[in-house]
């Protein structure tokens, strides 16, 4: 789960990291009031889970409260990478002397958290890493001891020559590390970490992604979820216990298991189709999940055919079949459907489908071929 910038800034503040002032507005009038409070000259920034906000026109500098109101009016309601902006952050425009990057991720190769810093901050850190890797400094962290003071200070000196600033940066790095474990972050970035005209070191912008697996034990963090900033069908899928990701194609896919779901999408493409979605109904045997899955898939007007690919292990064929029959009674299908059903309780499942007038295939390739052909309006 991604947090908004303003939420991430609140978390950093909570762990003692200096963050310049800034508040959220949901209307142009609120933005104007905040700009007045901050002395007129402010930055208005779209709060949306998408990179490249600046390039998309989602970040504007305002010299007066009136300009801030106009900027908020322009930004609120705009869409950036398909997501509508509902909130803006209004913050005093700071005099910035330098911009750096500080981030912590869990590195898969070393299986440890890694602190990454660069004096080339303010821009896309991946670009810096690709073009000028020598400007990136990395410190793997042993989670048994945490980020040690000398490790942090060494990276502080990688950013600043001034000892006071280096110590301030090191302190921020240690607090960021504490925050990562406290909120269950899979990624925490301060970009940019700035020095201001008076020499102080502050976290100007922050990005935090929380590991979805942490949310159950951290209700306070789970409560930060902003459903309005997510695609509605993905919210519905999550609430039904499904994993769903919308894509641009025309073959709706309903599969058990993430790996098989990906392989099914790939095979749709292999046979000349385009997958409309990734959908994993998971390992459990619950006809209701199948109903929810079909409701989501049929809600996409781009879907021209539906493909079920079920290899029963824990998932039982009869449960899936019951779900399909129940769903098609609740909302009759307007597009053709191809079902592949094999594995646990396959015979029972096929029998249930037959009685309801459906047939099932046992071969994955054959099912995908037929689904693609049906979606293109042809017989296989």
């Amino acid at each position: 789960m991604n947090l908004h910038e303003y939420q991430a800034r609140d978390i950093l503040r909570r762990y003692g990291i200096p963050v310049p002032p800034g508040e959220v507005a949901t209307t142009p009038a609120d933005a104007r009031a905040l700009a007045e409070k901050f002395g007129g000259k402010v930055v208005v920034k779209a709060q949306v889970h998408a990179g490249g906000r600046g390039k998309a026109g989602g970040v504007k500098l305002a010299k007066s409260a009136g300009e801030a109101e106009a900027a908020a009016k322009a930004i609120l309601g705009m869409t950036i990478k398909g997501l509508t902006v509902h909130k803006v952050l209004v913050a005093p425009a700071a005099e910035i002397a330098s911009e750096s990057y500080v981030g912590i991720i869990v590195d898969r190769a070393t299986q440890r958290p890694v602190l990454i810093v660069s004096a080339a901050g303010g821009i896309d850190i991946e670009e810096v890493a690709a073009k000028t890797p020598e400007k990136i400094h990395r410190q793997p962290i042993d989670p048994r001891y945490g980020l040690l003071a000398h490790q942090a200070l060494a990276l502080g000196f990688a950013l600043y020559k001034d000892v006071k600033q280096a110590r301030a940066a090191a302190d921020i790095m240690q607090k960021l590390y504490t925050a990562v474990y406290a909120v269950g972050a899979s990624l925490a970035e301060i970009n940019p970490l700035v020095t201001t005209a008076d020499g102080s070191v502050q976290a100007l912008d922050a990005k935090i992604s929380v590991d979805d697996n942490e949310l159950e034990r951290r209700p306070d963090i789970a409560a930060l979820r902003d459903v309005s900033s997510e695609a509605p069908e993905e919210v519905g899928a999550r609430e039904a216990g499904l994993t769903f990701i919308k894509l641009d194609g025309f073959v709706g896919c309903c599969v058990n298991g993430a790996g098989l779901a990906m392989a099914t999408m790939d095979l749709v493409k292999y046979y000349g189709g385009e997958p409309a979605n990734f959908l994993d109904i998971g390992g459990s045997s619950n006809p209701q999940k199948v109903v929810a899955a079909l409701r989501i898939i049929t809600g996409d007007p781009n879907v021209k055919a539906i493909l079920f690919n079920i290899f029963g292990g824990i998932t039982r064929g009869d449960d899936v079949a019951n779900g399909i029959v129940q769903a098609t009674r609740e909302f009759p299908l307007k597009v053709p459907m191809v079902i592949r059903l094999t594995g646990t309780n396959e015979r029972e499942g096929i029998e249930i489908l037959k009685r309801a007038g459906f047939s099932a295939l046992s071969d994955m390739d054959e099912a995908v071929k037929q689904a693609v052909a049906a979606a293109k309006g042809k017989a296989a």
Binding site: Q111, P143, R217, G259, M262, F311, G343
Partner: protein, 289 residues
């Protein structure tokens, strides 16, 4: 000989009285796995299915039954504790089926198990099966057949799909290992490749990877140097969009890294035959064996 598990495997099931644990314990017992103990705190002294003694702690189970392997079916909230406990109790192999363990928990678990020289398979995995000998986890036994193919995979049902292709075309398996779909896992592709290379029963290897991370790329380099047996590989997620977690916590393309194209290129460079689709596994293996 087979890899990681065989007839000498003496299994303790953590969470044996739970919904998933009891169901799969019965399945493993029916398959012929020696399930020697179960653990559910508070239910020590009971018997599972009138035969398997249940203990309050893994340490008690190990000392009473000489269990050497543990399988974990407990809920995600307590699964990392269950791994710590099993490692402390002295089993040599821990298989964690549970999905949903926070990655930061795993940053603490992994050094602990590695220091004790315990092998952890998973988490978030279907476990292992050495067909005809032993099954630890949830891989359906009826789709597997004994034979010469070693299979290692990050996936569950996709593994079943490919095993099914192998078995129906007369290619049995020495051992199938599901290493799990999480970003931080105990046993990786390289560990399995090394074990299959060393296993006399294994004649050829199937590797099933997916988008996210660099484990497959590193395994490809290792294979080129160290593995003499033919390898056939598959990568799921060729049509996956970047930046989205495709079901598995580890299946995500970060920026431009961890794509299927990059992994398939690494396979090709290392001389690993690349499947374009699951059905290619049999013809590619037959060409090379």
């Amino acid at each position: 000989m087979s890899t990681f598990i065989d007839k000498a495997t003496r299994l303790v099931v953590q969470g044996i009285t739970g919904r998933d644990g009891s169901f799969h314990s019965k399945q493993m017992m029916e398959y012929g796995t020696q399930v020697v103990a179960g653990v559910t705190p508070g239910k020590g002294g009971q018997k599972f299915e009138n035969t398997v003694p249940v203990f309050n702690t893994v340490a008690e189970a190990v000392s009473a039954t000489r269990a050497n392997t543990s399988v974990i079916y407990v809920p995600a909230a307590v699964a990392s504790s269950a791994i710590f406990e099993a490692a402390d109790a002295g089993v040599k192999l821990i298989v964690c089926i549970t999905e949903g363990i926070p990655v930061l928990d795993m940053t603490r678990v992994l050094p602990f198990v590695h220091e004790r020289r315990v092998r952890l398979v998973g988490p978030n995995c279907p476990g292992l099966i050495s067909p005809g000998k032993s099954k630890v986890g949830i891989i359906p036994g009826n789709i597997c057949k004994p034979g010469p193919i070693g299979l290692v995979s990050r996936s569950g049902t996709l593994t079943y799909e490919i095993v099914h292709q192998l078995s129906t075309h007369g290619l049995g398996q020495s051992t199938c290992v599901g290493i799990g779909g999480d970003p931080l896992i105990g046993t990786n592709f390289i560990d399995c490749l090394a074990a299959f290379q060393a296993d006399a029963e294994t004649e050829a290897i199937v590797m099933i990877g997916e988008i996210g991370g660099t484990d497959e790329q590193q395994a490809a380099e290792f294979a080129k140097r160290e593995v003499k047996k033919p390898i056939v590989g598959f990568i799921a997620g060729q049509t996956a969009p970047p930046g989205r977690r495709m079901g598995h916590a580890g299946a995500i393309i970060s920026g431009s890294s961890g794509t299927a194209a990059e992994k398939m290129a690494a396979f090709e460079k290392a001389g690993i035959a690349v499947m374009k689709r699951p059905a290619d596994v049999v013809p590619l293996l037959k060409e090379r064996m």
